[in-house]
Symmetry: C2
Subunit: 238 residues, 2 copies
């Protein structure tokens, strides 16, 4: 009976770990959304609030760290459970970096508002929407251990990269047209880069999901050469 109790408590702890990850993911999504809203609406107050909300994600990350350490110390898990717990730690780290990227977007939004509006910020919200759904879906996939869903997110990163490349070229054109566009456009370049990086964090989580289920990388790997080729043509990899 005592053994049962211990096992049950352990399951509850694991559930709590997944709940915390889901909450952290929800926060990271919301933060991205409000950061990009701040860019589109030129709303520096919203940007400032977005920056402040990063503390909440940091706190959640610390909570996850503490829970992991407690789980390891008290339950002394082995094999699959151990992998699961360690991977929760890594997922929370990726989510924390998603939140960082959103914070960076919000900081740039404030800088952008020091300059007249530049044309075409429509690609930015499109990129943000793709990234936001990638984060949402990959966390669902991770929690459900659904490799197919994770793989789907992993593929969607190509769409995000394509949008990023298109935007990069568009911004270069504006900069060449009028030197007054140069400074605001460089901020926009970094905003786009931060959103593109969120996609990379989502693909990292997808790979962890696959690793947990299948113990290895996706059969169809994203080779370094393809990444290099993308850099060659576009603006995605660095």
């Amino acid at each position: 009976m005592n053994q049962n109790h211990i096992v049950k408590k352990y399951d509850e702890d694991l559930k709590q770990l997944n709940d915390l990850l889901a909450r952290m993911g929800g926060l990271a999504e919301a933060q991205l959304k409000s950061a990009v809203d701040a860019v589109v609406r030129r709303d520096s107050d919203l940007a400032a609030r977005t920056i402040e909300s990063d503390d909440e994600t940091d706190e959640l990350e610390m909570k996850i760290d503490d829970l992991v350490v407690n789980l390891l110390a008290l339950r002394q898990p082995v094999a699959a459970d151990l992998r699961e717990i360690i991977s929760a730690l890594k997922v929370s780290n990726e989510l924390e970096r998603v939140a960082d990227c959103s914070t960076n977007v919000a900081k740039r939004a404030i800088r952008l508002n020091e300059y007249p509006a530049i044309r075409s910020t429509t690609t930015i919200p499109r990129m943000a929407q793709v990234a936001q759904y990638m984060v949402k879906d990959v966390l669902d996939a991770y929690i459900e251990r659904n490799v197919e869903k994770a793989m789907d997110v992993w593929h969607r990163d190509d769409d995000l990269d394509a949008l990023h490349t298109a935007l990069f070229r568009e911004l270069l054109t504006y900069m060449m047209e009028d030197p007054r566009n140069i400074t605001p456009c460089t901020h926009m370049l970094f905003i786009a880069k931060n959103i593109e990086r969120i996609g990379d964090h989502a693909t990292n989580i997808a790979e962890m999901c696959n690793y947990l289920v299948n113990g290895g990388p996706f059969a169809e790997s994203r080779p370094k050469t393809a990444a290099a080729a993308r850099t060659k043509n576009g603006e995605t990899s660095a």
Copy 2:
């Protein structure tokens, strides 16, 4: 006697963990150096070799992951030992990202060589040197559990940020002078950003060192408002 043996083996495992971290740090430093050499000498072959060498860092990170999981499963450490092992995992993750930043610099070096040379690449190697020593010294500090040394690295990040801000402004000037500079200068902006991010990873490791020794953040914290102020004046935080 058996107990002694277990403890001794455990110490050896911890030493192996630190050795792997030191090796990973050495590789990350070397990679940064050769990436920046590739930029300065306009040497695309060196850049390509630098990109390839990232595999070695990835392999080391996986080795560290495996060792950590084995340590947790076989030794079932508690309290301080547990914190130490979890934090090794986090340090290796930071080092992997340092290597990623260097790879990004190398990728941009190849792109840059498609354009005529731009003036003043002297700040880039200076930034790289500061970043390289930060990585080296913070790892030494971490392995020696030397908080004073870690704190010193943490402060040096301000120097790196100042160099980055100066370079950002310089690059904007070149872009405004001649539109043909715009594309190569955007690559240079991202190269500088990647080196600046390496400094951030080093300060993260400094904070982990302090956490291991003192169990909390540095007394003199790097507040969000200060970071925001830096963004206001310069080009550092996002």
